[in-house]
Each structure stands twice: as structure tokens, then as C-alpha cells.
């Protein structure tokens, strides 16, 4: 599958919502509500994804091959069988890394201009 995708740079810059979703599913498979909560927690409540934005992003990311849907639920979520879980793909991880590099590069440039504290 991976060789069908364009290079990770082709999808950059990644929409903010998509990047946060990738971060949320980086270490474990999550369902929609868990992603929203994770994003909100990690950004200190600054970014609260709405359900519509979440699933619109997820639909696109599924098409782009950044995510896959998985029915293998972790055992502790036994209470809800129909819930859908999302897992990051290798391609998704590559795109997330590329986006991180792009952002880091941007921050370095900004620092050189004295826009941010830290090493020049």
C-alpha cells in the first residue's frame, strides 16, 4: 500500500486538526471521543475538536492512508462493542514526522529573527 502514496511532503502543511489527531493516536489506538479528550488535555483545553470536524478529518485521513480503522478493541473498553478505533499507519507516522520537521524548521527561522526565546 505504502508505495501507492505520494511522498509524505506532498500532504504538508498538515491541517492543525489532522496533526493533533495523529499525535493522539501515536501511542495507542483510540476512538473518536478519546481523541477529542486527548487533544483537549494535551492543549490544556485550548483546542476542542467538534464531532463534525473530527470525523471530517478522520474521513479524509482514512482516504489519504494516514489512519486505518481497527475493530480490535483494547480489552478494557468492553462496554461498547460498536465503537470504532483508529490506528496510525506507517505512512501516517512518516507524514507526522515530516510535519514536525517542517514546524521545527519554521521555529528555528523565527528564532533567528528574534521572534521567540531560545538559541539563535
Amino acid at each position: 500500500m505504502a508505495d501507492q502514496h505520494p511522498g509524505p511532503e506532498a500532504l504538508l502543511p498538515l491541517p492543525a486538526a489532522a496533526f493533533h489527531i495523529l499525535l493522539a493516536v501515536a501511542d495507542e489506538d483510540r476512538h473518536g471521543y478519546a481523541i477529542i479528550q486527548d487533544v483537549a488535555a494535551r492543549t490544556g483545553g485550548a483546542l476542542k475538536l467538534s464531532a463534525g470536524t473530527l470525523y471530517r478529518s478522520i474521513q479524509r485521513m482514512l482516504e489519504q492512508g494516514l489512519l486505518v480503522e481497527t475493530r480490535q478493541r483494547p480489552a478494557r473498553e468492553e462496554d461498547d462493542e460498536r465503537r470504532r478505533y483508529y490506528r496510525i499507519t506507517a505512512y501516517g507516522a512518516a507524514v507526522a514526522r515530516a510535519e514536525t520537521r517542517r514546524l521545527a524548521q519554521l521555529v528555528r527561522l523565527a528564532r533567528q529573527r528574534g521572534f521567540a526565546p531560545g538559541r539563535a
Partner: protein, 863 residues
């Protein structure tokens, strides 16, 4: 929760089905987390506000996806895409062009403030419902009427204008000062006329059009106050009208005020004013009409006018469109919509065939999880995209084609030649496109998605035969043939009517005659002596040209001016009910009848010796004799001819169609050009030169100009054209309509042919196996041919029968345009039926050949 589910319907169904449950669950969690009514309300508010843009974005995502898919699939079959786009463009373009012209002429509000209040006020005399007013009648009406906030009068005129370049003839209008206030317009610069401008002692003033300002006066603001020479007299320019101001018709380039003196108010029969008025707010048209009828009746009692009962007629300015123009445009609009319908059914057929052919593809997509709604949406996107492309091309086509139709825009309305390309036109084209796209997209989409996935996958290419889909396609083809038949018959009938009219004898020989106009300006030529000298020098010069066999002057050529109708009185003859006692008057030089080829029947031509000192004579037409002196020898008879008093008939000539080929004309009276006194009837002073030549008449034009220049270097020459062109121009609106209608019929013919071809090709390909089996079982080529042709002939015959019935009904409605051709004209009908059947056969030819070529062994191996 139910509300939330309802809101979810904003999203596309595919998205809702996929994620709706999850979204509900998330919302439920949030709801639980929110404590207190305030928080719950806030949650609801934010959720619903977020939902709309989100839903739109999801729709947009899908649209983009579908468009990409559509572009890919259409790219794979460019022939199909091109056919669909061109067919849609033809339908949309034709209807947009015709409807925009029709809207322009018949519907759109006139370009003045509150145009619904503008009315024309006419006199009514016997069969004339639009008779001009005399200055005295206008003054009385203006004074006595209370229905109008203002009433003004005008009359078209033309003047010779000498600017730096060649002297030119410019059309203008003489108006009373009220006219501009009636219209409610303001000048671009300067001022409008006031009552002061109408005084006989005031200096001559002029208002000019934007175009004249730009062309003759250099578009400079300094033009205000400048002097312009019109017919040799200086006029001060006091106002410039804005660009796009048109009144009373698109030719008028300047406006000059009337200056009525006591003399103008003496004669109640000197009718030449058109009256325009504005209804007072709250006064209805019928109320104004009633008032004017009362006023006219009162004046008629006060100033009895002999035998004629004068009455009044008030009509909306918007309705100053002849019944014929209205009819021509309505017929064209109907035809254009008919063509659009044919195009749509053809497109539906094309898409249906394609949908059936692609059923396997759809089934595969459905099996991969695409919902029915998603597939439907995809197909609609495809058809709408094709329609949009077709619509864009169609608008271009309409813009390109509109100038071909300007001959249908009448001169009687103050509107531009061409409808402006505006929002209305684009809206119309847009909605037609949308309806077309949905119309030919929905049916095939519904049909194609109708079957279940399993059956479609299973049946593969073989499904659909003889089922409802096939029946639908047959119905579409029958409708196409019927509509095509309708267009063929109506255009056929109108072509025959046009031919009949063009074959009508105008009363003169139209070939080989060059005409031009030298309108002699007044007062330079108010005296007769310089006028006669001018005529003689020009005519002598013209007659000496090699190849010229006759040359003469007349006041107005037939079909160039329809007015000039004067009253006739014959001693001892009682007026007949419903028959006007009128004749048209023209002044001619000797040799006019010979030059135009009007046959002389009795007596003599007018002569140079017919002067004011000799017997006052007239040459009359045969219909004049029939009406006023039946059963008598006309020569030497005397009649009273309005201003010209007693006239003795010296000669009788053939009748001429003064009012044009399609209308009955009044009897004609010709007066010798020398039997007038200084300052008399300058309006009727001979101005049209006719020159009959052997060979091409146009080659004499430069020499004639030279002769006129040597007679009077300041005299402009206008309207240089062939007599044959004048006659053709008389039927031009009809000719344009017939040509457009003929083009529509040809397109309909082609489209219906394509429709039949498409249907049969599909049938044959579907039945390849069956045909193969039949051939294997010993069927002869004749049998196979019969199999294919039977279907097409049944459809063709059904369409022709239905179409013939429709066409007959349509022709009955057209009867006023048919010039005596009966609506059931057998020649037209049989020709149309033959054409339609020929088209059916031609459409089935290729599929039939393909059926004959079916090789049984290959056909049966396909499975």
C-alpha cells in the same frame, strides 16, 4: 438527542451513515458533562453553529472527489463527453438566445422611471386604431384631459447635418417640451427644453444624443452652447442625453422643439403628431381610455369632421408591438423550448445508455461499500458537470447568435437593438442548465441504481432487455420524433408562407433599380424654382449615363413610408360603412411609372407641362377607380383630394403595395411634382430617386453621387440601395424567423436521428447473442433486418402520428402568419412525414448493418 439527529441531516447521507452514531455518542457524553441549564444551552448553541460550516465542508469534500472521478471517467470517453456537451449547448444556447430577445421585446420594463405609467394616446378613425393627432387636437386633448400628469407630442424627422466631414443625413425627433418630463429623464449635461424653447421668437435650440455628441462633436463638454447646422439653419446645443437614452426609437440622434404658430392650429386634418403621456398615480389605463373617449366625442360634436367619427385610443407604451412581431417571437420561443426538450430527452437517452453500460462498474463500487445515495450523487455530479459545460458553451452560442435575431426587434419601441447581456439572461441560462442537468441526470441515475447489487453483478452486460428501462428509452425516442415532426411541419408551413409572400406581385418590377434619397432641406428649397432646377439637373445627368433606361423622383418609395394617407371626396357618392374614404398621396416626376415598371392602364403619365397654371390632374391606381368610380370611364372624372382640392383624373396605373407585401394598401394617387406652390407640402417634396438600368445598378452609384454633388455640393445622399433590397427588407423579420426556425428544425432532425441511432445500437448490442442464435438456426439476413427495423419503424410511426397531431394544433394557432396556406397543407405534412421516416431509417441503418454482421460463433462464445 432527536434534535441532534435531525441536525445530522445537514451532512451527506454517506457521511451520516458512517459516522452519525459515533457523533451522537460524543454529543451524549458532552451533554452528560455539561451541568446546569446555562451550560447545556451553550453546548447546543455552539454545536448547531459549528454544524453548518462543517457539513458544508464535508459536502465540498465529496463534490471535489466526485468531480475528480467525473473528470477521469469523462476523460476516458471524450467522444461521449463532447456529444453530451454539444447537444446540451445547442439546446441551452438556442433557448437562451431566443428567450432573451423575446424578453427584451415583449416583457422587460422600458428603460424609464415607472415605465408602467407611460401610454401612447392615439386617434381612432374607422379601421385605423393608431392615427396621429393634429397640433390642434393635441392641444385640446392636453388641455381637457385629467388622467395624465403630463402629455407631450413628437414626430420623427431627419435633417442634413454639415459637420467637418461629408454632409450627412441624421435622424432626429421634433418634440414638445413636455416629452422629457413625461419620460422622467435627465440630461447628462446641460438642460432640457422649457416652454420658452417653443416660442416662435426664441433662438433655435437642440438636445443631442450621446452618440452624436461623441461622433460629430468630439465628445467634448464644450459642445454645450455650440452651434450646429441642421438643414442649413443654426441650432444651439443646450443638452446632451446620457448614453443609452433611446426615444422614440434607436435611430433618433437629436431632439428639437416644436414651434407651433397660429397657422398650425387651424387644420384638424393635419395629423402627424404621436402623443405620449404619463398616467397620474392611481389612474388606471381603462379610466384614462374612458376619459379620452369622452373628450374625443365632445370635440367631434364641437368640430364635426364630415363623414369621419373621430375617437381616441390609449395604449401602454410597452404594448406598442405589432401582433405580428409578438407572434413571430412567441413561435420562435416555443420552437426553442421544443428544441431544448429534444436535446434533454436525447441527453437522458445518452446517459441512460451509458448508465446501463456502466452497471457493472456501479455494482463493483456498491459492493465495495458505496451507498445508493453516494452513487446517485456521483451520477448527478456527472450530469450537472456536463450540463454546466454545455450551459457555458450555450451562453457563448447565444451571445454569438443574438445579432442574427435583431431584425425581430421592432422600431416602435424605445429599446436598444440588442438585449444587454445581463443577470437576467445568465439567470435564465443558469436555471435552464440546472433543470437540463437534473432532467437528464436524475432518470438515468434512478434507473441505474434501481437494481440490487447482486443481480447487476450477476447479469453483467445482459440485463435490462425488454424491461422498464428499455420502455423508458423508447418513450423518449417517440417524444423526440414527435417534437421533431412538430418543428418540421411548422417551419415547413412558414417557409411556404414566406415563399408565397415573396412571390406576391408588388406592383412594380423590383430588379435592376437603384434608389437613393436626397432630402432637400427647408427653407433652402422651400421655393419651387430651386427644387425643380435640382430635380432637372439630377435627372438629366442620370438619364445620360450609359445603360440607364429611366430615372425619376417620387416623394416616398413604396414600403419606405406607409403614411401619407389623405381623404377623398367624390360628389354624389355616399361614404360606405366600414370603408375609409382615403388614398395615399405621392408626388412624382414624369417617367416614374416607366422607371419603376408600374404598368400604365389608361390615359397618360404626368408631364412637365402639368403646372399650377394648367389643369390640376392626378394619376390614380386601378383600385382607386374600382372604389370611387366603378362602372365609369375614370378619365376626366373629378374628385376632391383633401388639401389639393379638385383633381381631374388624367391616367390610370397598376396598384402598388405601398404598405408592404402582407398588408392591404389604400388606393394610390400620384400628383405631378410641379403642381405645388412655394412652401407647400415640403414633407412630400420628391426625395427618392429611382434609376432603372441594364446590368448591375450599383455600379452607377458613384456617378450618381457625382451628378448630385455638381447639382448641389452640400446636398447629402442617403439610403443608397437596390429596390429589390427594399422589397426584401419588408419581409426580413419573417425571413429571419423562418431561417432560425428552419435551423431549429434541422437540429431537431439531427438530434432525433442520433436518438434513434443510439437506442437501436444499444438494442442490437444487447441482442447480439439472440441474433447469433437466430442466424445459427438458419435466419436469413432479411429476417434479421426485419427484427431491427421493425422496432425503429414502430417508434418512428408512433412519433410521426403524435407529432402530426401536435403540428396540426400548432399550425391552427399560427394561422395568422400563414398568408393563406391552410394549417393542414398536404404538401408540407407529407414532406415532413417523409423526412421523419427517412430519418428513422437513416438512424437505424448503422445498427442494422451491425446486426447483419453478427457472426453466430463469436456471438455465442461471449458468454
Amino acid at each position: 438527542m432527536r434534535l441532534y439527529r435531525a441536525l445530522l441531516h445537514l451532512f451527506p447521507a454517506s457521511f451520516r451513515i458512517e459516522y452519525g452514531e459515533e457523533m451522537c455518542r460524543i454529543f451524549a457524553r458532552r451533554r452528560e458533562a455539561a451541568s446546569g441549564p446555562l451550560r447545556v444551552t451553550a453546548l447546543w448553541l455552539t454545536t448547531s453553529f459549528e454544524m453548518i460550516p462543517e457539513a458544508l465542508q464535508v459536502h465540498w469534500d465529496i463534490l471535489r472527489q466526485d468531480l475528480r472521478y467525473t473528470a477521469r471517467t469523462l476523460g476516458r470517453s471524450p467522444g461521449f463527453a463532447a456529444t453530451v456537451v454539444v447537444v446540451a449547448a445547442l439546446g441551452i444556447g438556442a433557448s437562451t438566445a431566443v428567450v432573451s430577445i423575446t424578453d427584451h421585446v415583449l416583457v422587460r420594463a422600458l428603460p424609464f422611471p415607472r415605465p408602467e405609467e407611460l401610454v401612447k394616446v392615439w386617434q381612432k378613425r374607422l379601421e385605423y386604431t393608431r392615427f396621429e393627432l393634429s397640433p390642434v387636437a393635441f392641444r385640446d386633448w392636453q388641455r381637457l384631459s385629467t388622467s395624465f400628469s403630463a402629455m407631450g407630442a413628437y414626430t420623427p424627422m431627419a435633417a442634413n447635418m454639415v459637420s467637418s466631414a461629408e454632409p450627412a443625413r441624421v435622424d432626429g425627433t421634433r418634440v414638445t417640451a413636455e416629452i422629457f418630463h413625461v419620460l422622467g429623464v435627465q440630461p447628462l449635461a446641460g438642460r432640457l427644453f422649457t416652454a420658452d424653447d417653443e416660442r416662435e421668437s426664441a433662438s433655435a435650440t437642440l438636445i443631442i444624443s450621446h452618440r452624436l455628441w461623441q461622433t460629430a462633436l468630439g465628445g467634448d463638454r464644450g459642445a454645450l452652447g455650440q452651434k450646429v447646422l441642421l438643414d442649413g439653419e443654426p441650432f444651439v446645443v443646450i443638452g446632451i442625453m446620457p448614453r443609452g437614452f433611446i426615444f422614440p426609437n434607436r435611430d433618433a440622434q437629436f431632439w428639437q422643439p416644436f414651434r407651433f404658430g397660429p397657422r398650425d392650429y387651424q387644420d384638424r386634418n393635419n395629423n402627424y403628431l404621436a402623443a405620449l403621456a404619463r398616467l397620474k398615480p392611481g389612474v388606471s389605463l381603462p379610466a384614462a381610455r374612458t376619459e379620452m373617449l369622452l373628450i374625443a366625442a365632445q370635440l367631434d360634436r364641437q368640430f364635426p369632421n364630415g363623414d369621419e367619427g373621430n375617437s381616441a385610443n390609449v395604449v401602454l407604451l410597452r404594448d406598442e408591438v405589432s401582433a405580428q412581431t409578438r407572434m413571430l417571437l412567441n413561435v420562435l420561443s416555443a420552437a426553442a423550448l421544443c428544441l431544448l426538450l429534444i436535446a434533454c430527452s436525447n441527453l437522458a437517452n445518452l446517459l441512460l445508455a451509458r448508465a446501463l453500460a456502466r452497471r457493472k462498474e456501479w455494482a463493483v463500487r456498491a459492493a465495495l461499500g458505496a451507498g445508493r445515495e453516494r452513487l446517485l450523487r456521483q451520477m448527478l455530479t456527472e450530469s450537472l458537470m456536463l450540463a454546466l459545460l454545455g450551459g457555458a458553451l450555450g451562453v457563448l452560442l447565444a451571445v454569438w447568435a443574438a445579432p442574427l435575431l435583431v431584425r425581430l426587434v421592432p422600431h416602435t419601441l424605445p429599446i436598444a437593438e440588442l438585449p444587454p447581456l445581463d443577470v437576467r439572461l445568465l439567470l435564465f441560462a443558469g436555471s435552464v442548465t440546472l433543470v437540463t442537468g437534473l432532467g437528464f441526470g436524475v432518470l438515468p441515475a434512478l434507473r441505474a441504481c434501481g437494481g440490487t447489487v447482486a443481480t447487476n453483478l450477476h447479469h453483467g452486460d445482459r440485463g435490462g432487455l425488454g424491461g422498464r428501462k428499455q420502455r423508458l428509452r423508447s418513450v423518449l425516442v417517440v417524444a423526440e420524433v414527435a417534437a421533431c415532426m412538430l418543428l418540421l411541419v411548422s417551419s415547413g408551413l412558414l417557409i411556404r408562407a414566406l415563399w408565397r409572400i415573396q412571390e406576391t406581385d408588388p406592383g412594380f418590377r423590383r430588379e435592376g433599380v437603384l434608389t437613393l434619397r436626397t432630402a432637400l432641406p427647408w427653407p433652402k428649397y422651400a421655393r419651387t424654382a430651386p427644387r425643380f432646377q435640382f430635380y432637372n439637373r439630377v435627372l438629366e445627368g442620370a438619364q445620360s449615363l450609359p445603360g440607364v433606361t429611366g430615372a425619376a423622383y417620387i416623394s416616398y418609395l413604396p414600403m419606405t413610408m406607409r403614411g401619407g394617407i389623405w381623404g377623398v371626396k367624390v360628389a354624389g357618392r355616399a361614404p360606405r360603412p366600414n370603408e375609409s374614404e382615403n388614398a395615399s398621396v405621392r408626388f412624382v416626376t414624369p417617367g416614374f411609372f416607366a422607371a419603376l415598371g408600374i404598368p400604365r392602364k389608361q390615359g397618360r403619365d404626368v408631364a412637365e407641362s402639368d403646372t399650377m397654371q394648367s389643369l390640376q390632374i392626378a394619376v390614380v391606381s386601378e383600385s382607386f377607380v374600382r372604389r370611387y368610380f366603378p362602372d365609369k370611364d375614370p378619365l376626366g372624372q373629378v374628385f376632391e383630394f383633401s388639401f389639393l382640392r379638385m383633381r381631374t383624373i388624367a391616367g390610370v396605373v397598376g396598384d402598388v403595395r405601398v404598405r408592404g407585401m402582407e398588408r392591404d394598401s389604400e388606393p394610390q394617387v400620384y400628383i405631378p411634382y410641379r403642381q405645388v406652390q412655394d412652401g407647400w407640402f415640403t414633407f412630400y417634396a420628391p426625395k427618392d430617386l429611382v434609376v432603372r438600368t441594364a446590368g448591375d445598378p450599383m455600379r452607377h452609384a458613384p456617378a450618381l453621387r457625382q451628378i448630385i454633388r455638381s447639382a448641389d455640393p452640400e446636398q447629402p445622399v442617403s439610403d443608397v440601395r437596390l429596390l429589390a433590397d427594399i422589397v426584401d427588407a419588408d419581409t426580413a423579420p419573417r425571413a429571419v424567423q423562418v431561417r432560425v426556425l428552419g435551423a431549429f428544425a434541422a437540429l431537431a432532425f439531427l438530434l432525433a436521428g442520433i436518438g434513434i441511432h443510439g437506442l437501436l445500437s444499444f438494442t442490437v448490442s444487447q441482442r447480439t447473442q439472440e441474433i447469433g442464435v437466430r442466424v445459427a438456426l438458419g435466419a436469413q439476413p432479411r429476417d434479421i433486418l426485419g427484427l431491427v427495423l421493425r422496432e425503429s419503424l414502430v417508434l418512428g410511426a408512433l412519433g410521426v402520428t403524435l407529432g402530426a397531431a401536435l403540428a396540426y394544433a400548432a399550425a391552427r394557432a399560427l394561422v395568422s402568419l400563414l398568408a393563406g396556406i391552410t394549417p393542414s397543407d398536404p404538401l408540407t405534412f407529407s414532406a415532413a412525414i417523409a423526412l421523419a421516416l427517412a430519418m428513422t431509417l437513416a438512424g437505424s441503418l448503422l445498427p442494422a448493418i451491425r446486426a447483419l454482421r453478427v457472426d453466430p460463433s463469436t456471438a455465442m462464445r461471449i458468454e
